[in-house]
């Protein structure tokens, strides 16, 4: 069977078609890895168009939902074959700060880039970052803040992560008042000026070769 139809279903966010075509492919005996790649190709396409400002977040979201529909069916086969996301990312808005959206967009973008994303929510104290990092062993930890008065919480969080010996995870920070200079100052590994660039930044940090490993 032709997987291009499945890729197209992801690109256009056709959830129903995505599910049906995935099942069809499995039934036709197509390799799980090949099916996954066709999904990735679809996400790759929409992601590139998003980066070029040709489509918006909702289009990204419906593509991601279509992908999810496929993955529900595909995942057990991938697990059985030992195929899993290469990288894990932890993300949260730091203590004292309630801002959601920027953090959510980055999480969505990272999921789209085939990161296993664990979202700790908002107002996350340093100790919860530390505990979650111990549990999930992430390669990337993303910290978000929108208030000048919660920016110092980023530093506390980084300090506690380092003190806990969790310094092999790369830390990337972002949010309206954040700058590269601040990132340098508090010992973050990187600064992402916006959601779209967060993927590039994260990939660079983990040294991922793929320009678009999406899943």
């Amino acid at each position: 069977m032709e997987l291009t139809q499945l890729t197209e279903a992801i690109k256009t966010g056709n959830r129903k078609a995505a599910g049906l075509l995935t099942q069809e492919a499995i039934d036709a005996g197509v390799e799980p890895k090949a099916i996954l790649n066709s999904l990735i190709e679809g996400m790759d396409d929409i992601g590139a168009r998003f980066q070029k400002n040709e489509v918006f977040v909702p289009e990204m979201l419906i593509a991601a939902r279509a992908m999810k529909e496929s993955m529900v069916i595909l995942e057990p086969l991938l697990v059985a074959a030992g195929i899993r996301p290469e990288f894990t990312a932890l993300i949260g808005t730091v203590q004292g700060d309630l801002h959601d959206i920027g953090k959510n967009l980055v999480a969505m973008m990272w999921k789209g880039a085939n990161f296993n994303v664990i979202d700790l929510g908002t107002n996350v104290p340093p100790e919860r970052f530390v505990a979650a990092a111990r549990e999930h062993n992430p390669q990337i930890i993303g910290l978000s803040a929108l208030l000048t008065t919660t920016m110092p919480s980023m530093k506390s969080t980084i300090d506690e992560l380092k003190a806990a010996g969790l310094s092999n995870a790369k830390i990337v920070i972002g949010g309206a008042p954040i700058t590269q200079a601040f990132a340098n100052q508090i010992g973050a590994d990187a600064f992402a000026p916006d959601a779209a660039s967060a993927v590039e930044v994260a990939r660079k940090l983990v040294g991922s070769q793929s320009t678009a490993v999406l899943a």
């Binding site: 918006f56 909702p58 959510n104 107002n123 000048t148 008065t149």
Partner: protein
């Protein structure tokens, strides 16, 4: 100082640079606010502003700890008093406690320690002389955040006209009571966390501008509730929907535009000035610019903006109308939100709101009116819409048309559609 009496006043707001707010930093925090207010008031006096509104929008720890919030409020009130005595500077103090109810998730909206402390801060600041009480209330944001990302206008309408309206009715009844008891004014709210979030996402090209414009129009229905509960304006600066509320209520409104670029970029830098009674910079951090501390620099910019508005007003209604025409025309061809915030558009949206039988239908009507204004202007060539956005005109229209006539049918369908774990239905009378 009469707000809304024809003269436009500058309204200044400022905030801390990068620093913690806690018990041990409070002396530094106080010093920062003292530095900001003295610098700004000195400049305001030198430039002989006709009067000044100073807004103190607290940071979360200052609402959680009313003593801290009051310490800063008192510093500001004292400095305003001193500038009045020493330099004859007239001023009004607006107190805007940060809405901390969402510090827990799902938020507890009507009780608990966060609520108690917030109400305490309103009460104590009103007693201390805060003549205007405002808030950027957040009820409904639990659903709206997600709705914006998926550009789901039905869910936005649920968040604003069902959840937002119900929360504001509860909250503003309390604020109005506090204002009355303390002989101060319940001023107004803002759809900041809803429509400004949409506007900023659109500026970042993450969601369509046409969608953000429709959200703005719908948001007026929610912000209107403050006035239904007894608020009398001026509505809070960052509520760009204030122009619609002014058309409905006649109350004076704070507005912000180009001179709030320090706080966020916007496509409505000039048009927003066409209906202002106070003109604001939204918020600027206390960082050093070459010309002085940023709050002082922005005080100067507001003072000159306001001088221009008042000179035109001084030449009579025709002259004032001419300046407004330029301010409006400068923006409305380039952005759908600018178009729907032009006073002429605002009147049409206001009409559609007041003719509706309930808040829900008002929200749908406001959205549809905005969408029609945008579509008509796009079709007659007077408004640019980016090619990638054009399809959204139909998408939003269809979504609006599919919404049921009946509010309870709508609520039932939305309670199925949205993520109900993010909020407490009982806090919105939704159980």
């Amino acid at each position: 100082m009469v707000l809304g009496g024809g003269l436009v006043y500058p309204e200044l707001n400022f905030t801390l640079p990068t620093m913690f707010v806690n018990g041990s930093t409070m002396p530094d925090v106080a010093a920062q606010y003292r530095e900001m207010i003295t610098g700004a008031l000195k400049r305001a006096s030198e430039l002989e502003v006709p009067g000044l509104v100073v807004e103190f929008e607290t940071l979360p720890p200052m609402t959680e700890n009313p003593d801290w919030g009051m310490e800063i409020a008192q510093i500001l009130l004292d400095e305003l008093h001193e500038a009045s005595v020493k330099h004859g500077l007239k001023s009004v103090f607006r107190m805007t406690p940060n809405d901390t109810r969402e510090m827990v998730r799902p938020p507890v909206m009507r009780s608990g320690e966060l609520w108690d402390n917030m109400i305490e801060l309103f009460d104590r600041s009103a007693a201390a002389g805060a003549e205007l009480l405002s808030i950027e209330s957040v009820g409904g944001k639990e659903v709206n955040d997600e709705a914006l990302q998926s550009c789901d206008i039905g869910q936005v309408i649920f968040a604003l006209s069902v959840m937002g309206v119900r929360d504001m009715r509860f909250l503003w009844t309390h604020i109005a009571e506090i204002a009355e008891r303390n002989h101060v004014h319940a001023a107004g709210d803002t759809a900041c966390g809803f429509a400004n979030t949409a506007m900023v996402l659109a500026e970042q090209k993450l969601i369509p501008r046409v969608f953000a414009a429709v959200v703005r129009s719908v948001s007026a229905v929610r912000s209107l509730v403050a006035y239904e509960c007894g608020a009398v304006g001026p509505g809070k600066d960052c509520g760009y929907e204030n122009v619609i509320l002014k058309a409905i209520t006649g109350f004076p409104m704070a507005m912000e535009g180009k001179t709030a670029a320090c706080a966020h970029l916007s496509p409505v830098g000039n048009v927003a000035a066409a209906a202002c009674d106070t003109w604001s910079n939204e918020s600027v951090q206390n960082v050093k610019l070459l010309g002085g501390m940023a709050p002082t620099c922005y005080m100067e910019q507001l003072a000159y903006d306001v001088r221009l508005f008042n000179e035109a007003n001084a030449d009579g209604p025709e002259a004032a109308a001419m300046l407004k025409k330029w301010l409006v025309r400068s923006d409305i061809g380039l952005d759908p939100q600018a178009l729907i915030l032009a006073p002429a558009s605002a009147v049409k949206i206001a009409e559609s709101i007041v003719s509706a039988p309930n808040h829900y239908r008002a929200a749908v009507a406001a959205g549809m009116t905005a969408l029609n204004l945008i579509t008509d202007a796009y079709n007659d060539g007077s408004l640019k819409v980016a090619p990638r956005e054009v399809c959204w005109l139909d998408t939003i229209k269809e979504a609006l048309e599919e919404l049921p006539e009946d509010e309870s049918t709508f609520i039932a369908s939305m309670m199925d559609a949205v993520n109900t774990t993010t909020f407490r239905p009982q806090d919105y009378d939704l159980t």
